[in-house]
């Protein structure tokens, strides 16, 4: 008898809807402070998601060991955006509403950070990204959106100065991976380089996810380039530099903090390929005394705190400090405090300007040595 079936079905839907949609309403954890760790925990960039997670996890544990934030324990919530804007927005809403986090560490990809930050701004929650270097993140004057890493324009400038003044390169090729981060970086570098009076011989974008750049490399060769700047991530930088070397191209290779990961070596398929590749990156936290102990801790657990691990760690510290000092979780309050004060972190002293960018961006040049490590280039 279909009639009944309909009504039963409809009623079922109704109940079902009311149940899921209302069950996760009131759920305010007491005696604990929740932080959302938002980033690509799955998907093509999960490697970086892992760095964020490891860093923040370590930080939370260490802080909780010494009594947490004014007695309240830190609880971390993994929020996966897979670097997709669509997911970033819904996960941001989830953090705000369902998990009722006090602050957010993340996101990673600038393309996710921007739409997500709208939500946090709206809800007045503090969001500090340890990795999104795209200027637009903080240029949209949202009071509670801050960053604990440099900006592409700062980074690009450093790179350009280095290429022109130190390497004395004449024929410079500028490449990018067509993505927010990579292209922003490449454009910033290009701009500065042009200011310094050098016009690139080639400016092109390769496709993310591809492995074969031989055609491009041959083209670079034809341009007689003596330096190649690449704005992008190690996943493409590796094969690119390998194929350059394989085709006997000796031009210098310079890139940004997107290749700060031992994955870069693997992506290139061996140390001999990455040897002598330069990159711009914040003063290596692993070298700072402030970080020594922490780094040791990581290494004990058999994990090399590379890339953004310590950035995430520091970000958690920063949020903790702000909350301790103000004894509040209101985004505006925290943000204002941070913009007025200086915080000691595992990465040294950090302080912010009105926009929420770091006052001192300590970008320096690193060079990959042949033994699977990178060291500051003096």
């Amino acid at each position: 008898m279909p009639e009944r079936r309909f009504i039963r079905f409809a009623v079922l839907i109704a109940i079902f809807a009311v149940v899921i949609f209302t069950k996760d309403q009131a759920y305010a954890g007491d005696g604990e402070i929740r932080l959302g760790i938002a980033g690509p925990h799955t998907g093509a960039y999960a490697a970086f998601g892992k760095q964020l997670w490891r860093g923040s996890k370590q930080a939370a544990e260490d802080i909780n060991k010494v009594g947490g934030i004014n007695g309240k324990k830190i609880v971390l919530i993994k929020a996966d955006d897979a670097c997709e804007p669509k997911q970033a927005v819904s996960v941001a809403n989830r953090l705000v509403d369902r998990d009722e986090v006090a602050a957010v560490v993340g996101h990673f990809c600038s393309s996710s950070t921007m739409p997500a930050s709208e939500i946090y701004d709206d809800a007045g929650i503090l969001m500090i990204t340890p990795a999104s270097t795209n200027p637009m993140v903080t240029d949209r004057n949202m009071p509670t959106i801050m960053r604990n890493c440099g900006r592409d324009d700062q980074q690009g400038v450093v790179a350009a100065e280095f290429v022109i003044k130190r390497l004395k390169a004449k024929n410079v090729v500028v490449l990018h991976d067509k993505d927010t981060y990579g292209r922003g970086l490449a454009d910033a570098m290009k701009e500065q380089m042009n200011k310094l009076g050098t016009i690139e011989v080639l400016y092109e974008g390769l496709t993310r996810g591809e492995k074969d750049f031989n055609a491009l490399v041959t083209k670079i060769k034809a341009k007689k380039a003596d330096a190649v700047y690449f704005g992008g991530l190690h996943t493409e930088a590796g094969p690119l530099v390998r194929q350059m070397r394989e085709q006997g191209l000796t031009a210098k290779f310079i890139s940004g903090d997107g290749i700060v990961s031992n994955d870069f070596i693997r992506a290139a398929g061996g140390n001999k390929f990455v040897k002598g590749a330069y990159m711009t990156f914040g003063a290596d936290p692993r070298k700072l005394d402030a970080g020594k102990a922490v780094v040791e801790e990581f290494r004990k657990s058999g994990y090399e705190p590379e890339g953004y691990t310590l950035y995430a760690y520091a970000t958690v510290q920063i949020i903790t400090e702000a909350m301790k000092a103000t004894d509040s979780i209101d985004g505006e309050v925290l943000a204002n405090w941070l913009k007025a004060n200086t915080v000691k972190t595992v990465m040294g002293e950090k302080s912010w300007d009105k926009k929420g960018d770091l006052k001192v961006s300590d970008y320096v040049i690193y060079v990959w040595t042949g033994d699977g490590k990178y060291e500051e280039y003096k």
Binding site: E204, N214, A215, T218, T235, R242, E246, G248, F264, G270
Partner: protein, 305 residues
């Protein structure tokens, strides 16, 4: 100088084309036999890449370092395992949908490729994986700064492509298995009536396709040295494009399409612009399909009235 650059670009294009071709075979054969786009095929290639790295690692662990030996063993091992993968995927995801609307398997294929990607990511980690250079060195043509080269690895890829094409066409055209395949392709029902175990044929085709993807996976990975759980996707799309370009269902077409795609990509990005090379590739596809609606070597479908 110029002619060496051109030479190099041609080499790049041909090598890329061969890899596309090898993978396209899988698409084209499966399509030919059950008329379905096997979107999970690219992921089999990705699995092959991992297997290659794993086997190499194990071999070096047991102290086997001779290039030749490890190449052969890796190929053999990978082919076997990917074949099992191909067979299983067919049994699990497609066989239950054999007589359902033609879009159903397409969707379950998409599901499978999601599954495989994440299955590998969860087990092997999301990070980039690498494979040490097994074969190194190159044949240089020209001298000084004016030369173009074919690395031994690239040469191997080309040879492998040619060889496997030859073997496959022999299988398809000479053996009784091949005859059964073609019969099934023409008319599954009739073939079944004539006592051909069509299920077995279909499985076989999946196995062949998967092992081709295996070969491609091993060689390409050795050539580029790195891979991650995401490589299957882009390569898959490209290979599928190649298969269609050459006329889906035709072996030679797959290879031809692959080469055409590879060359057009490398020449366009070499002499025009890298940003738009895919736009060019796809536009080329559209143009060719407008004038040859069933690909370069596909047999045109006559409007039977």
């Amino acid at each position: 100088m110029e002619k060496y650059i051109l030479g190099q670009q041609l080499v790049n294009g041909i090598v890329l084309g061969c890899t596309y071709g090898l993978i396209a075979v899988g698409y084209t054969m499966v399509y030919g036999i059950i008329g379905m786009i096997n979107f999970a095929h690219g992921e089999v290639y990705m699995i092959a890449a991992y297997l290659a790295a794993i086997i190499i690692a194990v071999l070096t662990f047991f102290g086997i370092n001779s290039a030749f030996l490890s190449l052969i063993l890796t190929l053999a091992g990978t082919i076997v395992i990917t074949s099992v993968y191909g067979w299983t995927i067919e049994k699990v995801a497609y066989k239950p949908l054999r007589n359902s609307p033609r879009l159903a398997p397409l969707i379950s294929a998409i599901g499978i490729s999601l599954v495989l990607q994440n299955y590998v990511q969860i087990n092997q980690g999301a990070g980039n994986q690498g494979i040490p250079a097994v074969v190194s060195g190159a044949i240089k043509i020209g001298g000084g700064s004016n030369f173009f080269q074919i690395t031994y690895m690239q040469a191997i890829i080309i040879l492998a492509a040619v060889a496997s094409m030859a073997i496959l066409s022999i299988i398809i055209n000479k053996t009784s298995l091949g005859r059964a395949c073609r019969a099934t392709q023409q008319d599954p029902k009739m073939a079944a009536i004539l006592g051909i175990d069509t299920d077995r044929i279909i499985s076989t085709v999946f196995i062949i396709g998967a092992s081709m993807a295996g070969v491609a996976g091993v060689l390409v990975t050795m050539n580029y040295g790195s891979f991650d759980f995401f490589v299957g996707f882009i390569t898959g799309i490209k290979a599928f494009t190649a298969a269609v370009l050459g006329g889906i269902g035709s072996l030679a077409g797959a290879m031809l399409g692959g080469l055409l795609l590879g060359l057009s990509e490398s020449l366009f990005s070499g002499y025009v612009n890298t940003d738009y090379k895919d736009v060019f590739a796809f536009s080329l596809l559209v143009l060719i399909l407008i004038f040859r609606p069933s690909g370069l070597l596909g047999r045109p479908e006559v409007e039977k009235v």
